[in-house]
């Protein structure tokens, strides 16, 4: 289970968000939606301290970290309990697909190489890229690269996988295969927090949808309730704007 308690972050004098609370049970899938620039990605990046929050507590599994006095060891421990999928994949350009996936198991989890490779091959099989084990990122399509990015996150055996707009950099033809893989993970009860603009995905897969605006969690709830009957005017306005061009029913 994951808990954020009054987590705050600002860039210089500019607050990004203040006193955000969020709680997830194990196996829960949360999708965070909202206008650009409202701190969704920053919130996600604060969970593993890619951005350092100024205040608040973050709990992942049995580890509770106070943002004010987080030590280097705390941050490392937090990162070992979480995994992150980046908008721009962030694959290691000097490593093959197999090595990208096995790297963390070898370097961080100190698994013997043979064992790490064997597990990486299993993961490649699951993400449908068994034949690309020895391919370098530069030779993979955007969709394949992002699947490797997700594979790397799977290899971390983390309590939660954080997805930061995983399909936003993809050409439209690759979006489905990435979302498909994420659905597959969701079906396996992988705990995840997803920041995305893919409303259909949120509707189909999320246990709970969180709407953020201007550094606040405005409203959250089961997808059908939130999409069809939002309680807050800001949520309604946002959903209307983003759903209208897709032809989905408007709240």
């Amino acid at each position: 289970m994951i808990t954020l308690e009054s987590v705050s972050k600002r860039f210089g004098q500019q607050p990004v968000f203040t006193d955000v609370d969020l709680h997830l049970e194990q196996g829960e899938i949360i999708v965070i939606i909202g206008p650009s620039g409202t701190g969704k990605s920053t919130l996600l990046r604060c969970i593993n301290f890619l951005e350092r929050p100024e205040a608040g507590h973050i709990t992942v599994g049995d580890l509770r970290v106070d943002a004010r006095r987080a030590s280097r060891a705390d941050i490392l421990a937090l990162r070992r309990r979480t995994a992150f999928v980046f908008q721009n994949y962030g694959l290691f350009a000097n490593k093959t697909a197999l090595e990208n996936i096995s790297e963390g198991m070898i370097v961080v989890d100190k698994l013997p190489k043979a064992q790490a490779y064997a597990r990486a091959r299993e993961i490649l099989e699951r993400i449908g890229l068994a034949d690309k084990a020895d391919a370098y990122p530069a030779s993979l399509s955007g969709g394949q690269q992002q699947r490797v990015g997700i594979g790397r996150a799977m290899a971390a055996n983390a309590d939660v996988i954080l997805f930061d707009e995983p399909t936003s950099s993809l050409d439209p033809q690759w979006v489905e295969e990435v979302l498909g893989l994420m659905k597959q993970l969701a079906a396996e009860q992988q705990t995840m927090i997803v920041v995305t603009h893919e409303m259909q995905f949120a509707r189909d897969v999320a246990d709970r949808v969180v709407f953020m605006d201007e550094g606040q969690i405005v409203e959250q709830g089961p997808p059908e309730a939130l999409f069809t009957n939002p309680q807050d005017e800001r949520t309604r306005r946002f959903l209307r704007k983003i759903l209208a061009p897709t032809g989905q029913a408007l709240p």
Binding site: L50, R79, A83, F86, F92, A93, N94, V107, G149, R152
Partner: protein, 222 residues
């Protein structure tokens, strides 16, 4: 006219000094690389105090002529530090070359490190790697590839710069040429011959450089 026969006779004589030239350059290159990597990492990670020291070091060794630095090490420093009185020309030259070129190389390595996509750094940190694992396994291998052509150019520069060691009384290839020429008075032939030798050595290295680059770029081809 050019005394070609004399040039041919001179060739083996000068070539016998080539190993010393290459040795000086290679030893200096190895130490310069180590120092440059340390300087670059200090600069990139902005280690307090050390960063300022690195900046000063780089500024001095890039801002003053190599010849001045060599004279400082060979003639100047022993005045200050007694133990250096016995410093020989080869050691002083290698020391000077090392420090001088490490300053330049640090800047190319730093640029190569900074040029690596930030998302790879974040990805490495996100799976729980430490800063030093990130450097060793992700950043430096890629920075090496980016910096290799430039570093090879510095190595080539270094080989040519060893010729300055003759001003410290070292009989390396240039010093030997000088001696031969002043005995025979055939200055044109002697210096032309040594120029040709440097040229051929550099060309061979450039060929190696191109092969190395092709090899290093293999992983990055689409």
């Amino acid at each position: 006219m050019l005394n070609v026969e004399y040039m041919w006779d001179l060739l083996p004589v000068l070539l016998s000094y080539l190993p010393l030239t290459l040795q000086m350059a290679s030893i200096a290159m190895v130490f310069a690389l180590i120092i440059a990597c340390l300087l670059a990492v200090v600069r990139v990670s902005k280690v307090p105090v050390l960063n300022g020291a690195a900046l000063l070091f780089i500024s001095f060794f890039r801002g003053t002529p190599l010849l001045v630095q060599l004279f400082l090490f060979y003639y100047g420093l022993p005045q200050l530090i007694n133990a250096l009185i016995s410093i020989n020309g080869v050691t002083a030259a290698v020391l000077g070359l090392t420090l001088h070129f490490s300053a330049y190389m640090a800047e190319s390595i730093r640029a190569a490190i900074v040029g690596i996509d930030r998302s790879q750094t974040e990805a490495a940190l996100s799976i729980g790697m430490t800063q030093s694992q990130l450097m060793q396994r992700i950043i430096l291998p890629q920075a090496t590839r980016v910096a290799t052509p430039t570093l090879m150019n510095y190595y080539i520069d270094m080989i040519k710069a060893t010729s300055l060691a003759f001003t410290l009384g070292v009989t390396e290839m240039m010093g030997a040429t000088q001696k031969e020429a002043s005995g025979s008075f055939l200055y044109l032939e002697a210096f032309l011959m040594v120029a040709l030798i440097y040229w051929v050595v550099v060309e061979v290295l450039s060929w190696g450089q191109r092969r190395l680059e092709t090899h290093l770029n293999k992983a990055y081809q689409r």
